[in-house]
Symmetry: D2
Subunit: 401 residues, 4 copies
């Protein structure tokens, strides 16, 4: 029998740094198991070995949290994407829990059951209806007895509060993570105010994930922390950003970029960018530090390497690396051996190899969100009439920018 692991709050209360995992839907899209667009995670049922392997890689890279692959696995979303998904939410969520638990047991990791924003909210369903969606996923997490819960990827704090309220009922620790930037949520609530509301709703850990690059996310969590402290409240802080540089993004993050989701490659962070991110997050006082879309296992490993002195440990996967590229001492070519040094990699400004490409793009600013007719979600794929409407809207958005 495995020894009882320290819980998430025990760790954070003790001042430990908890390393999160990376984003599954993007990684599995590239590996061939998730479809971009619907982004639903039926792979937990259809290809468990692929999901298990990805969990394992993040574990070996040093992740202390295995998040269940239950993103967009609510029944209303699955129904909306019904043509492609042949499994119920319960089936997908149960399989996800089993996979996360199995791999977590192979190392020092906790299992976190996750819920995220719903098409029901975007389509203006009632609080009760939206909460019922969360409750359904939660029932599986309770049955499978996960270690703690995360409400993540919320664009509107109102919906995030509802989620926290539902999760809180279980008595398990609750983390709440929004996908917002320094300008706050899509209804204009400031980052600090969002954090305060989430803490008041019952979250012990608050922060952000997805939509923005690491430095922007850290900046946002800093604003949240200031808000919480100013309100005389207490919380722990988490951050799980993109592994893509998004300096030009405004409120909707990388979804506004013309490159989303199929041409983000040149924006991918290097492992050295990750060192800077880990240091900055640590300095700001964030202690649950992980990743989201774009993160591959080596990115998580870089976080553990940067913080190895503070944490006193390196993960199993670090055997296959060498701090600051020291493995290059054994490279065939002498000029590559000359790169096995911290100073070299710490200062590199990598080129894109793309002289016809710019360094920044113009984000598309549509400025529509929950409540706008164009965001009512439905089962059917976009019809050609809708597409014409969308292309017209796009033209308008461009000419006014």
């Amino acid at each position: 029998m495995a020894p009882v692991k320290k819980g998430i709050l025990e760790r954070l209360n003790a001042g430990e740094v908890v390393i999160g995992d990376g984003g599954f839907v993007f990684a599995l899209e590239k590996r061939g198991y998730v479809k971009a667009g619907p982004w639903t995670p039926e792979a937990t049922v259809t290809h468990p070995e692929a999901v298990r392997q990805l969990h394992r890689e993040f574990l070996r890279a040093g992740a202390n949290v295995m998040q269940t692959l239950t993103f967009y696995a609510s029944d209303d979303k699955l129904e909306n994407r019904g043509q492609t998904v042949k499994y119920t939410g319960v089936q997908i969520n149960e399989a996800a829990c089993d996979l996360a638990k199995q791999v977590a047991s192979e190392g020092d990791a906790l299992v976190a059951g996750g819920v995220c924003q719903t098409p029901s909210y975007l389509s203006c369903k009632s609080e009760a209806e939206v909460k019922a969606i969360f409750k359904k996923q939660l029932d599986v997490f309770v049955k499978k007895n996960v270690d703690f819960l995360i409400a993540e990827y919320f664009e509107h704090v109102e919906e995030a509060e509802w989620a926290v309220q539902v999760l809180k009922a279980t008595g398990k620790p609750v983390a709440a993570s929004m996908c917002i930037g320094p300008d706050g949520d899509l209804h204009g609530v400031s980052a600090g105010e969002c954090a305060v509301r989430l803490v008041k709703a019952g979250a012990q850990i608050v922060g952000v994930n997805c939509h923005f690059d690491p430095m922007t996310c850290v900046k946002t969590v800093k604003l949240m922390k200031e808000g919480v402290e100013k309100a005389g409240l207490k919380a722990h802080y988490m951050v799980q950003p993109l592994a893509y540089h998004t300096p030009e993004c405004t409120c909707q993050g990388f979804i506004e970029l013309p490159e989303f989701p199929f041409a983000l490659e040149p924006r991918l962070l290097t492992r050295w960018d990750m060192h800077k991110y880990a240091r900055e997050a640590y300095n700001v006082g964030i202690r649950f530090i992980g990743g989201c879309c774009g993160f591959e296992p080596y990115h998580i490993r870089a976080l553990t390497e940067e913080l190895s002195a503070e944490r006193g440990i390196l993960p199993p996967g670090a055997d296959y690396h060498g701090m600051w590229g020291s493995g290059l001492e054994m490279h065939t070519k002498p000029w590559v051996r000359a790169r096995s040094r911290r100073e070299y990699w710490e200062n590199i400004l990598p080129s894109s190899g793309r002289p016809l490409c710019a360094s920044l793009s113009k984000p598309e600013h549509w400025g529509v969100t929950k409540g706008h007719a164009d965001l009512l979600q439905h089962k059917e794929a976009t019809s050609s009439q809708e597409m014409r409407h969308v292309l017209e809207m796009q033209k308008k958005a461009k000419s006014s920018s």
Copy 2:
């Protein structure tokens, strides 16, 4: 019992397009199972599930060839990197064959046993000594009865010829692939002449892999083809390039780039770049089209999508994609739905998100190769005295460029 598969030469003789797989050592380095620097593949023994999963992903993406993960798995290389590797070449090569065969049997793929350039050659060992190295790996491939053989990643045509001569003795089909660009091998032999010598040595398939980006590799194979045809010979052609843009590289390819190997991210090709590559390779008359370092399964899938009309098939993994991003029809945000069109992705010029970075780098031109003292290979990691020497050489190379 599985039906007998068509062999590699039958396919190519019939005019079929054979899709190769992607580069394993780079992909597994990112997943945490290969160490950059030594680049040796002991993961076939220590973490077979990770290697198997990667094979499977390439298979699902449409690869018709499973190359054994036997890169740098010759005894002289393993010994050179001895501090970290605890397994013999035979153990590693046998495990690699078993994994490739198992996954190949799950789909329409052949197994190719692979050898590559040796430290012995760089250190000026004799032809007999170098050939003995190849023979040792070959014995495993014969015992495991792989479908065909590939001698790949050779910088000097002389060593590649020796490899082909050894492989040829088995009677199995032999492919020979050098890691050279349009300027030819590191001793100055032209691409066309390299190809002629390899065909004369017995290779039925010739081409290039690694070191350069797709368009540069296709250009190089075109020169090879012209050389072979001018010499009145016949061959099939293969290309397995990097998934990194390297427009500024000269003879040693991406190893000269300051970003090699840990800051290549901004150079990573998108899936749409891969469409262009597949089309160009096809137009030039290359029929064995695959990838090398940087290729992830979705890159291989893009090759099959581009050539789906010519080949009449799509791979299993294509269910999780949709041609030209058609899956985006089911995205939540209307402006992303507007991107579910070929015209959109075909013309995108993706930004780097890095305004402080340039688009091209200055390659390091050391101009040393086999025969130069700095390239004598040894067991020990670089000593601090050697490192000083190397840093001085680097300074000299810079100031003269």
Copy 3:
């Protein structure tokens, strides 16, 4: 006898758009008559034909204001730069007035006498001493009877107020223009507050010049206008920005850029960028629109072309252009003729032709200003001891950024 011209305030009160001229010291540095570093304008005495010709080119381009070339022509500055300058302030200022008046009389332009910030202020001299400096220049302007006065290029509002108070005594219209950005002056006074203080000191026209690119300057003047209106005051607004893109600059503007002053070329605005600037300035309510360092006559002409409908006139120099490149209809090559269209030039994103260069730089943030020992001004060129100190400071500034 020439008809009496409408004064600057009559024009602005009538809602007219007044076009300013461009920056003389940068233009004359490139033509070989001003030395970068000292930047003093003794060319008014030594090479009047060169100064006259530049005035004339701006006049032909449509400028309604001929600023006297009296930048840094105060006696304390000339003395500081004494090794190179052999003329008194009075000589230089008188010659400058004569040249501006002569050319102004050739068209519809007014003469503005200008003073700017002094080394005395930076070196912490008293209010009386600094005011005496301004008074000395002013005496020449009164004697030569210029049309109005401009106190420009002030980094600290306190010194600008002193200048306005001195100029005001003459009864002539006074414009006050600081070289600050949206973050306010170098002592941290906000842009809005600066404007309010200048209006209260007696300036009828307020705004900014130099140090930042057009869009940043327009944004700053907008903040000034909002400050003035919020304070219940009234003023006219002016803007005379750089012709260089400076998106990454913070409080000290382009002087912080590593490219200042000898490698700014790639940042130079096109004439089409100037169209956008003129439109934006107009929309914000600015009616005195001109330029500073980097502006060449064709940049001023572009301002007049963009606003030709509003103003009902085009300048003489427009005969040698053609709106939106219409002159290209007569180009030899057909594909260049295809560019004689507004849509073409309005949307062009010009490349730098420099693939080894980035798009942005890291500004040097020294954060020192008036009151800091390193800014005490003196006659002697920097000694080698001072230079060592400066290089050390620079190193420190870099490592802390």
Copy 4:
């Protein structure tokens, strides 16, 4: 009476470096005296003071050659552009000679009369007709007794030979300069062969001007020199490149760039780029080194500064500069004083300040030249029917690139 100056051939035969001037039509377009499109130089008659001032600035910057502003001043061209030009070729050419002679007499400069390619040749007129055009301009040069003659800006060596043959008849020294790159003339004649033919036609000095950046032009002249030497002939060499970076251009040079002619600003060379150009040209053995479009006086001054040790002189304008930015020792801000060093400017990689712009463009490759119907020149501005045709051609050229 002025002392007799050493002629161009005496100087070159003595091994001296002769510094050329910069491009007049581009500089005067920016100053408001030449119209882009027609590019005709009637300013010699209408605004002599502006032309004289530009000559004088180049003289002060160190130019030893005053080229008459007679570019496109042949009667067939003036007629083609007749709507705007009200003066005869003789009037314009005579005025140009007077201006060049007057300024040349103020310093150590020679006067060169220049002819360039004709619309008659492009429109397939006969050798006799084309030669008559040159003869008409030449008659003025003989009458005005210029020091030597330059046939420059030829895209086709055949027309350049005709020009040289006409000029040669006067007995004055003849220089021949084509606007070609390393790939040779527009009919596919190699650079080396072009040079040989020009020398055989009678030119004592051969080289290139315009159309390409300095490094490309130097490379082209190097090919010319190799061709001449291989043919056992002798010549002097000249180079007068653009001041714009054009690394991506192919045979028609910067005219193919989408930025031509109104958005080339970000490509403008710095003075430090000019140092590198002067050194490279010198090393290759070119001894007549000047500039063309984009060159401002400070660019020419940089050439003289780089070669001051070899030449033993600095021009008058150098008083207003200081080698390697030494004038910055007297700058107000200490961090700018820290830039008064060769090492600083020699290594700067200037940013563009334009994060939405790429570093390279796709040139338009129309591949049409003399003999193609679209290049028949006529008097009338492009009609709307022609423009439609041109836009269609452009679309075709784009889709095939």
